[in-house]
């Protein structure tokens, strides 16, 4: 679960990582009071989850009330899935650094990365100046040690005067990572101000979905999702991704779904959406069908090859869903694995041909969707 910038900054503030003065508003009406509190010049930042906000015109620097009103209106009308607008004091920037913490699956530690060139995306940093990225590994059992953080800061060459405050910020950032069981915490840029202070210019935090049961404070709401189908799927714990093609994929097993996804693309079809109802979700054929029906798909392609996710149970669910929901699109099905004989009988009872071969199913779905796109 990704947090919005304003939420990340709240967590930073709670643990005393320096952040700019700011106000969060959910409605353009609040802009007057917010800018009065913050003062001019200030920055308006759309609270959306996608990156590249600057280029998309979702971050605006404003220096008077007129600009503030017009830019706020512009952002509110332009941004999609925006949770609100952050109004933030304009910080005097001397230099921008990059710091983050993620998991290192190879060594079984947390990895803290820092770079003396912040502000740009970590991918660009990694591509353009990989030698400037420095890393330390932190044993979660032992916890973070100040000498590690100090060493990292010395290695990126920050000013001696900033070692003390920088060490404290990174030690605190590690606590944010641990306390919230984050997959990622990132401050980019970590700003060195003209008056030689450090302050978090932006904040990214991604909470581990598997650990959210231990962190009741994080509640997923509609604002985190691009559309109803994604939100509904997430509520059910069903992996779901929205695309804009013709063929709906309702498959069981992540690897198999990815493979079907590739095959559809390879053979010239287009994917409308990606729904994976294997594992603990194999009973949820009806719910999956409801989600598929929220989209305007031309054909539904079902591919499974399960063990515990029994073919007969899935087929039964699909048959019931068809009877009850009467989906308007044709269905192609390759349902295999445990109990596949009964599954095939059930499909035949609905006049769906039970296919065995995945490639054949993909080809048939493409044909039914209107054939290969050019």
């Amino acid at each position: 679960m990704k947090l919005f910038e304003y939420q990340a900054k709240e967590l930073f503030e709670q643990i005393q990582i320096p952040v700019p003065n700011r106000r969060f508003i959910e409605d353009p009406d609040g802009i007057g009071e917010a800018t009065n509190r913050i003062g001019f010049p200030c920055v308006l930042k759309a609270q959306v989850l996608q990156g590249g906000r600057g280029k998309a015109g979702l971050i605006k620097f404003v220096s008077n009330m007129d600009e503030a009103y017009s830019q706020a209106d512009a952002i509110f009308s332009k941004a999609q899935n925006m949770s609100g607008l952050l109004i933030e004091e304009a910080v005097q920037i001397e230099k921008e650094l990059y710091v983050s913490i993620t998991a290192d699956p190879v060594t079984g530690t947390a990895m803290m990365m820092a770079c003396s060139e912040g502000g740009m995306d970590i991918e660009e940093i990694a591509k353009n100046i990989p030698e400037k990225i420095h890393k330390i590994n932190i044993d979660l059992s032992e916890g973070i040690q100040t000498y590690q953080v100090r060493g990292l800061l010395y290695d990126i060459g920050i000013d001696d005067k900033l070692i003390g405050s920088g060490t404290k910020i990174l030690m605190d950032l590690y606590q944010v990572f641990r306390n919230n069981e984050a997959e990622l915490v990132e401050i980019n840029p970590l700003i060195v101000t003209k008056d030689e202070k450090l302050i978090a210019g932006d904040g990214k935090i991604s909470i581990d979905d598997n650990a959210i049961f231990r962190h009741a404070q994080f509640k997923v709401t509609r604002a985190y999702y691009e559309n109803e189908a994604e939100y509904d799927a997430a509520e059910e714990g069903i992996p779901y991704i929205q695309f804009d093609g013709d063929i709906g994929l309702m498959c069981a097993g992540a690897g198999l779904t990815n493979t079907v996804f590739d095959l559809v693309n390879d053979y010239g079809g287009t994917v409308a959406n990606y729904l994976e109802f294997g594992g603990p979700n194999y009973h949820k054929a009806k719910k999956a069908m409801e989600i598929m029906m929220k989209n305007d798909i031309k054909v539904l392609l079902i591919v499974t090859f399960g063990t515990i996710a029994r073919a007969d149970v899935m087929a039964k669910g699909i048959v019931e869903a068809i009877k009850e929901l009467q989906p308007p699109f044709p269905i192609v099905a390759a349902i295999r694995g445990t109990g596949e004989e009964q599954a095939h009988e059930l499909l035949r009872s609905m006049e769906i041909e039970p296919l065995i071969d995945t490639e054949q199913a993909v080809m048939k779905a493409i044909a039914l969707s209107g054939g290969v796109k050019q």
Binding site: G108, G253, L256, N258, T259, D262, L263, N265
Partner: protein, 296 residues
């Protein structure tokens, strides 16, 4: 014959008295697995699937030696159950559950390394030594998939493994061992750590790797081949070649982040190292036929 597990391996099942634990323990025994004990706190003295149950791993181990443990526990208890197995000196552990919290998984990986233990999982169907024994849940009764032979299989997926293994069998081959390392972002054993075992196994002629987008495990395999750590033929099939960036593709571990983890990069690395890479499932069988003289 197989790696990690055979009919002599003395297997413990942690969480044996649960519905799944009991059901699959019975299947494991039917298949030939030497399940010697189970653990469920508070149930010592009972039997599950004919196997004696103990309060703790240590108490089970005091009763009879244990070589390997299979964890049928919910993800939130996986860390503690693993620590219990490691503290009792067990050096092979298979963890099935999906959904282990990331911070737990990191500590589990570290603990496994420190203990010098091979811990397989989480988010896997387990491991099966074809025709001999299994730890986990495999529909071994599906004859068009589960056939003994001389191909080692290692995989990040469940259903896709059925799909690919069926192609291996369709081409006339069979598997020696199938190792499901699981679909988590922190697999507790990595592909490159399984390879040396297949390398040493006289009954494995080639390895089929079933990978996907995300992480760097396939690149590590390419490195192992380049460094001659692994010298047998290897055929790879990777799902998610056309996946978009930044989306979790089913498995938590299947995601392209910070520019890393694309299948295309992985395919190039493997090809450059000398591995054969199948673009479609069907090609796995034909590629095996092209490199192996004998199917048995």
């Amino acid at each position: 014959m197989s790696i990690i597990l055979d009919q002599s391996t003395r297997v413990l099942v942690q969480g044996i008295t649960g519905k799944e634990g009991k059901f699959w323990t019975k299947h494991m025994i039917d298949y030939g697995t030497n399940v010697v004990a189970g653990v469920t706190p508070g149930k010592e003295g009972q039997y599950a699937a004919g196997v004696p149950v103990f309060h703790t791993v240590k108490r089970a181990a005091r009763n009879a030696p244990i070589d390997a443990s299979l964890l049928f526990v919910p993800p939130r208890f996986a860390k503690e159950a693993l620590f219990e197995a490691l503290e009792a000196g067990i050096k092979k552990v298979v963890i099935l559950c999906d959904g282990i919290p990331l911070h737990d998984a990191i500590q589990m990986r570290k603990a496994a390394i420190s203990a010098g233990a091979m811990v397989i999982g989480g988010n896997t169907s387990g491991i099966i030594s074809m025709g001999q024994a299994m730890m986990g849940f495999f529909p071994y009764w599906l004859e068009r998939v589960y056939r003994p032979g001389r191909i080692g299989i290692m995989t990040r997926s469940g259903s896709l493994t059925n799909e690919i293994t069926a192609e291996v069998v369709r081409a006339g081959f069979g598997a020696s061992s199938l190792i499901g390392i699981g679909g988590d972002p922190v697999p507790l054993t990595r592909f490159a750590e399984v390879l040396p075992l297949f390398q040493e196994d006289p009954n494995t002629d080639a390895v089929v790797l079933i990978g996907e987008l995300g992480g760097t495990m396939e690149e590590e395999v390419a490195e192992a081949i380049e460094n001659n750590v692994f010298t047998k033929p290897l055929v790879a099939f990777l799902g998610g070649r056309t996946a978009p960036k930044g989306k979790k593709m089913g498995h938590a571990g299947a995601i392209i982040t910070a520019g890393k983890g694309t299948v295309k990069d992985k395919m190039i690395a493997l090809k450059n190292a000398g591995a054969l890479v199948a673009e479609r499932p069907r090609q796995v069988g034909t590629l095996l036929e092209s490199i192996l003289a004998s199917k048995i």
